[in-house]
C-alpha cells in the first residue's frame, strides 16, 4: 500500500509541506476570526434591532485588532515555507499580480486602524459604525480575493503566465468558488472560537451555533462545484488511496461539527463536551482540507515542483535550534498569558482576558 500523502513525496518535500500545512492551519484560525468576524460585526451594525446589545459583537470588536495582529504574525511562518516549497510559482504569481498584490499592504494598514475605530466608536453613531464596518469587510474581502487569485495564478502554466504578462490574462476558473469555500469555512471556525472565548455566557449566544451550522451546510455546494471543475489528473489524485484518509478526515470533521452544533442548539446551552467535539471536528476538517489543497497543487504542478531544491534546503543548518526556540518561546508565551490571567485584579476597559467573563 502506498504511503499517506505527503509521505509519498521525497522526505524533505514532505517535511516542509507538513510544516507549511501546520502553520497555515494556525494562520487560518486567526484569519477566520478576522474575516468572518468583520462580516459578523457589519451584520450586527446593519441590523441593530436583533443584536444591538449582543455581547458576541462586543467581544468581536474588542478582540479584532489583536486577532488581525495574530493573523499577520501567524502568516509569516507559512509564507516562509511556501517560499521553500513553491518558490518560482509564488514569486511569479506575486510579480504578475503586481499592483493588486502590493495593494494588500496599504489595505492591511487601513483595515488595522479601521478595526480600532470600530472598537472605539460609540454605538449611537450608527452611520459611522456602518461605514467603518463596511470598509473593514471590503478590505478583508479584497485581501482574501487577492490571496485566492495569487494561489490560482501560481498554478497556471508558463504559457498562461506569459500571456498574462503580455496583457492577455487567462480567465482563472474557480476563484470565486474557492473564495466562497474559504469564507464559508471561516464562520464555523469563528463560532467555535467565540464559543470558547465566551464560555461563561448563557443561551443568548446560541445564534452563533445557527450561523455555524448554516455555513457548514452551505459550504457543500461550492465544494462540490469546485471539485467538478478539477482536471481528470487532479480528480484521480484526489481519489487515490494515499489521499482518501484526508478526504475522510475532512468529511468526518465536517460531520462532527454539524452534529456538535446541532446538539448545541437542541441543548439550548453551551457545554464543554460539545465544544470539544466541535473543535476536534474543525481540526480534522482543516487538516483534511489543507492537505487536499496541497494534493491539488502537487498534482497540478507535477514535475514543475523543484524537489532537488527542497532537498538542498533541508541541508541548511538551524532546524534543531528552531525546534528548541519554538518550544521555549511557546512555553514563555503560555506563561505570559497565565501570569496575566492570574494576576489581573482590576477590570480593564478593553475587556481584557477571559478571567472576568
Amino acid at each position: 500500500m502506498s504511503s499517506l500523502f505527503p509521505l509519498n513525496l521525497p522526505g524533505p518535500t514532505a517535511f516542509y509541506l507538513c510544516l507549511f500545512v501546520a502553520t497555515l492551519a494556525v494562520h487560518f484560525v486567526f484569519i477566520s476570526y478576522v474575516l468572518a468576524g468583520t462580516i459578523w460585526i457589519l451584520a450586527g451594525t446593519l441590523f441593530p434591532s436583533r443584536n444591538e446589545t449582543s455581547p458576541v459583537t462586543s467581544t468581536l470588536k474588542d478582540w479584532m485588532p489583536v486577532m488581525l495582529s495574530g493573523a499577520i504574525t501567524a502568516g509569516v511562518a507559512p509564507l516562509l515555507f511556501l517560499q521553500i516549497l513553491y518558490r518560482e510559482q509564488f514569486y511569479t504569481a506575486n510579480l504578475l499580480q503586481f499592483q493588486r498584490w502590493m495593494a494588500i499592504l496599504p489595505v492591511l494598514i487601513v483595515l488595522f486602524y479601521l478595526l480600532y475605530v470600530v472598537k472605539a466608536l460609540d454605538a449611537r453613531r450608527r452611520l459611522l459604525q456602518v461605514m467603518a464596518s463596511l470598509l473593514c469587510v471590503g478590505c478583508v474581502l479584497f485581501i482574501a480575493w487577492s490571496w485566492v487569485g495569487n494561489h490560482g495564478l501560481s498554478l497556471q502554466t508558463q504559457e498562461q503566465w506569459t500571456a498574462h504578462y503580455d496583457g492577455r490574462p487567462t480567465e482563472q476558473s474557480g476563484v470565486l468558488l474557492r473564495l466562497m469555500v474559504w469564507i464559508l469555512m471561516t464562520f464555523p471556525a469563528l463560532s467555535i472560537i467565540v464559543a470558547w472565548q465566551r464560555r461563561g455566557a448563557g443561551s443568548s449566544d446560541l445564534w452563533i451555533a445557527r450561523v455555524a451550522l448554516c455555513a457548514l451546510v452551505a459550504s457543500v455546494l461550492p465544494v462540490w462545484f469546485y471539485a467538478t471543475q478539477q482536471s481528470d489528473g487532479v480528480r484521480v489524485a484526489l481519489t487515490s488511496s494515499n489521499v482518501i484518509p484526508w478526504l475522510a478526515a475532512a468529511a468526518i470533521g465536517w460531520m462532527g461539527q454539524v452534529l456538535g452544533w446541532f446538539a448545541q442548539i437542541r441543548l439550548s446551552s453551551f457545554h464543554n463536551l460539545t465544544r470539544t467535539i466541535i473543535s476536534a471536528g474543525l481540526l480534522l476538517q482543516v487538516a483534511g482540507v489543507m492537505m487536499l489543497r496541497e494534493v491539488i497543487r502537487v498534482a497540478t504542478l507535477g514535475d514543475r515542483i523543484d524537489f532537488a531544491r527542497h532537498a538542498d534546503a533541508a541541508t541548511s543548518g538551524g532546524l534543531w535550534l528552531f525546534l528548541v526556540f519554538c518550544v521555549v518561546n511557546g512555553i514563555l508565551a503560555v506563561w505570559c498569558i497565565r501570569m496575566v490571567r492570574r494576576n489581573h485584579h482590576t477590570g480593564h476597559a478593553d475587556g481584557a482576558l477571559q478571567k472576568h467573563e
Binding site: 489583536v66 495582529s69 495574530g70 499577520i72 504574525t73 501567524a74 502568516g75 509569516v76 511562518a77 509564507l79 516562509l80 515555507f81 517560499q83 521553500i84 518558490r87 518560482e88 514569486y91 511569479t92 506575486n94 510579480l95 504578475l96 503586481f98 498584490w101 502590493m102 499592504l105 492591511l108 494598514i109 488595522f112 486602524y113 480600532y116 508558463q158 503566465w161 506569459t162 504578462y165 503580455d166 538542498d312 534546503a313 541548511s316 543548518g317 538551524g318 532546524l319 528552531f322 526556540f325 519554538c326 518561546n329 511557546g330 514563555l332 508565551a333 505570559c336 498569558i337 501570569m339 496575566v340 494576576n343 489581573h344 485584579h345 482590576t346 477590570g347 480593564h348 481584557a352 482576558l353
Partner: protein, 469 residues
C-alpha cells in the same frame, strides 16, 4: 524553470532601489522603536518599583499605547511589505536568502510571536497588574523584541560580509559574520535612541502634567541616550569589517555613498550632542517641537545609514555570490555565450513602442540587466548617466562596466545584445524617433567581443547555491 528570469515589472520613474530603500527605512525605524521601546518601558517600570519616579507607571501606559498603535500596526505590516517588495525587485536574492537562512528566519518568527503576545498582554491588561508582573511582562517583551533584531541582523549583515560561509557554506558561519556584532550593538543603541526620542515627544503630549512632571521624566529619558557616545567607535568598528572596496566608496570613492554617510553621521552627531550635552549634562528641558525635530534627525540618520548599508553592497546583493542584477559569475560567463535574452520566456511588454527589432532587443537587455537599479528617464536614469558619451564610449563603457564603475556588475550578454542596448540608448537620446537604422556588422561584433573580454571577471568560486563543490 530558469531562475534567472522572472516577469519583472516596470516601476516607471521610480528607481526600484529607492522603493525598497524607502520602505526599508520606515520599517527599520519602526522596528527599532519597538525594540528600544520595550527596554525603555522596562527601565521606567523599574524606576517605579524602586520608588525613583512616581509618574513613570502612568507614562509607560501612555507610551506603550502609542507603541502598539504605531509599531504593532505599521511595523508589522511594513515587515511583510519588505518581503513582498523584495520579491518584486529581486526575487532571486530573497529566494537565496530564504533557502540559506529559513531556519534562522523561523527562529526569529518564534521570538516575534512571543513579542506580539507579551506586548498585547501588557497593552490590554498592564494597568490592572502589579509591579512584578508588569516588569516580568515587559522584560519578556523587550528580550523577545531584541532577539528578533539579533536573528534578522545576522542575515542582513551576511549580505555584505558573508565571512567564512563563502568557504564552508555553513549557516552559522554566515550568520556570525564579521559585520554581525558591530551592527548588532550599533542597532541596539539606535533602538534605545529612537525610543527615548519618541518618549520625549510623548512626555509633551500629556496635557495634565506640569513642567516639573515632564522634567522628571525627561531626566530619566536622558539616561537612555548616553550609549550614543559609543556610536563613533562602533561606526569605525563596523566600517573596518567591510570589504576594502566598500570602505573606499564611503571614504570618497562614491560621492552618493559618501553623501549618505555624511548625512547619517551628521544627523547622529547633532542628536548625540544635544542628548548628551543638553539633556544629560545641562539637564535642559525639551519641548515637543524640539523633541520632534530630534526624532526627525534620528529618522534622517537611519535613512542615511540604511542607504549606506544597501549601497556599499554593490555590485552585489550577496557579496561574492549574487550580483545586483541577480546573476552569478557563472551566469555571466554563460550569458556572454548564449545571450541574456535568448531563453527569457517573458515577452517585452511595450514591444510595439520600438520601431526595429534591434531596439526591441536593446529594451529587453535593459529590462533583464539594468532595470533593477536604473530607469530610462526617472531616478538614476540610464539616459542621463550616458548622455555625454559618444556611441563608441557607450559600447566600451557598458561592455567593460566593472571597469567603468567598480560598483557596477559586469555586462552579461553577447556583442549583439550590447550593440542593441547602445542603440536603444542612442534612440532614446534622439527623442525616440519613428524610424531608426539598425547597426551591426561582423567586424563591429568582433570588436565588441574583444572589448567585453578585455575586462577580466573575478575568479570567484561561489555560486548562488552556496559554495562550489
Amino acid at each position: 524553470m530558469n531562475e534567472l528570469y522572472y516577469p519583472l515589472n516596470d516601476f516607471g520613474p521610480l528607481m526600484k532601489g529607492l522603493v525598497i530603500g524607502g520602505l526599508g527605512i520606515v520599517h527599520v525605524f519602526l522596528a527599532q522603536f519597538a525594540i528600544g521601546g520595550g527596554m525603555l518601558a522596562c527601565w521606567f517600570e523599574w524606576l517605579h518599583g524602586s520608588g525613583r519616579s512616581s509618574l513613570s507607571r502612568e507614562f509607560i501606559d501612555r507610551y506603550f499605547k502609542i507603541l502598539v498603535l504605531v509599531s504593532f500596526v505599521l511595523g508589522a505590516v511594513t515587515g511583510v511589505a519588505m518581503w513582498f517588495t523584495t520579491i518584486q525587485i529581486g526575487p532571486r536574492t530573497i529566494g537565496l536568502m530564504v533557502q540559506e537562512f529559513h531556519w534562522i528566519w523561523a527562529i526569529e518568527w518564534t521570538f516575534f510571536c512571543l513579542e506580539v503576545i507579551s506586548g498585547y498582554c501588557f497593552y490590554r491588561c498592564g494597568s490592572g497588574l502589579d509591579h512584578r508582573t508588569r516588569l516580568k511582562l515587559l522584560i519578556t517583551y523587550s528580550a523577545s523584541a531584541w532577539f528578533s533584531l539579533f536573528w534578522i541582523n545576522g542575515i542582513l549583515a551576511w549580505q555584505l560580509t558573508p565571512g567564512e560561509w563563502l568557504q564552508t557554506g555553513n549557516v552559522f558561519d554566515g550568520f556570525f559574520n564579521p559585520g554581525f556584532l558591530p551592527s548588532l550593538i550599533f542597532r541596539t543603541i539606535t533602538s534605545l535612541t529612537i525610543a527615548a526620542l519618541v518618549a520625549a515627544v510623548v512626555v509633551n503630549l500629556v496635557p495634565s502634567w506640569t513642567r516639573s512632571d515632564r522634567e522628571e521624566i525627561i531626566r530619566h529619558i536622558a539616561m537612555l541616550l548616553l550609549p550614543m557616545m559609543a556610536m563613533p567607535l562602533l561606526g569605525v568598528w563596523y566600517l573596518s569589517t567591510m570589504p576594502s572596496d566598500s570602505q573606499e566608496w564611503l571614504m570618497g570613492g562614491s560621492p552618493a555613498m559618501m553623501m549618505f554617510l555624511v548625512m547619517a553621521v551628521g544627523a547622529s552627531t547633532l542628536v548625540g550632542c544635544y542628548s548628551v550635552l543638553g539633556l544629560w549634562k545641562q539637564r535642559l528641558f525639551i519641548n515637543g517641537a524640539t523633541a520632534t525635530m530630534l526624532l526627525a534627525l534620528a529618522f534622517t540618520a537611519t535613512a542615511g545609514g540604511e542607504f549606506v548599508r544597501e549601497g556599499v553592497r554593490k555590485p552585489y546583493t550577496v557579496r561574492n555570490v549574487l550580483y545586483s542584477h541577480s546573476m552569478t559569475l557563472d551566469d555571466i560567463r554563460h550569458l556572454r555565450e548564449v545571450g541574456c535574452t535568448t531563453n527569457d520566456p517573458w515577452p517585452l511588454q511595450d514591444a510595439a513602442d520600438y520601431p526595429t527589432d534591434q531596439l526591441r532587443l536593446g529594451a529587453h537587455v535593459y529590462r533583464v540587466q539594468c532595470s533593477i537599479c536604473h530607469t530610462l528617464d526617472g531616478a538614476n536614469a540610464l539616459s542621463h548617466l550616458s548622455s555625454t558619451w559618444s556611441t563608441d564610449q557607450k559600447r566600451l563603457n557598458i561592455g567593460q562596466l566593472q571597469r567603468t564603475r567598480n560598483f557596477m556588475p559586469p555586462f552579461a550578454g553577447t556583442p549583439e545584445e550590447l550593440e542593441a542596448l547602445v542603440q536603444m540608448l542612442e534612440w532614446h537620446h534622439e527623442g525616440r524617433p519613428e524610424e531608426w537604422t539598425s547597426t551591426g556588422s561582423p567586424e563591429l561584433y568582433d570588436k565588441l567581443r574583444e572589448w567585453i573580454e578585455a575586462a577580466p571577471l573575478p575568479a570567484s568560486q561561489v555560486t548562488s547555491e552556496g559554495v562550489n563543490q
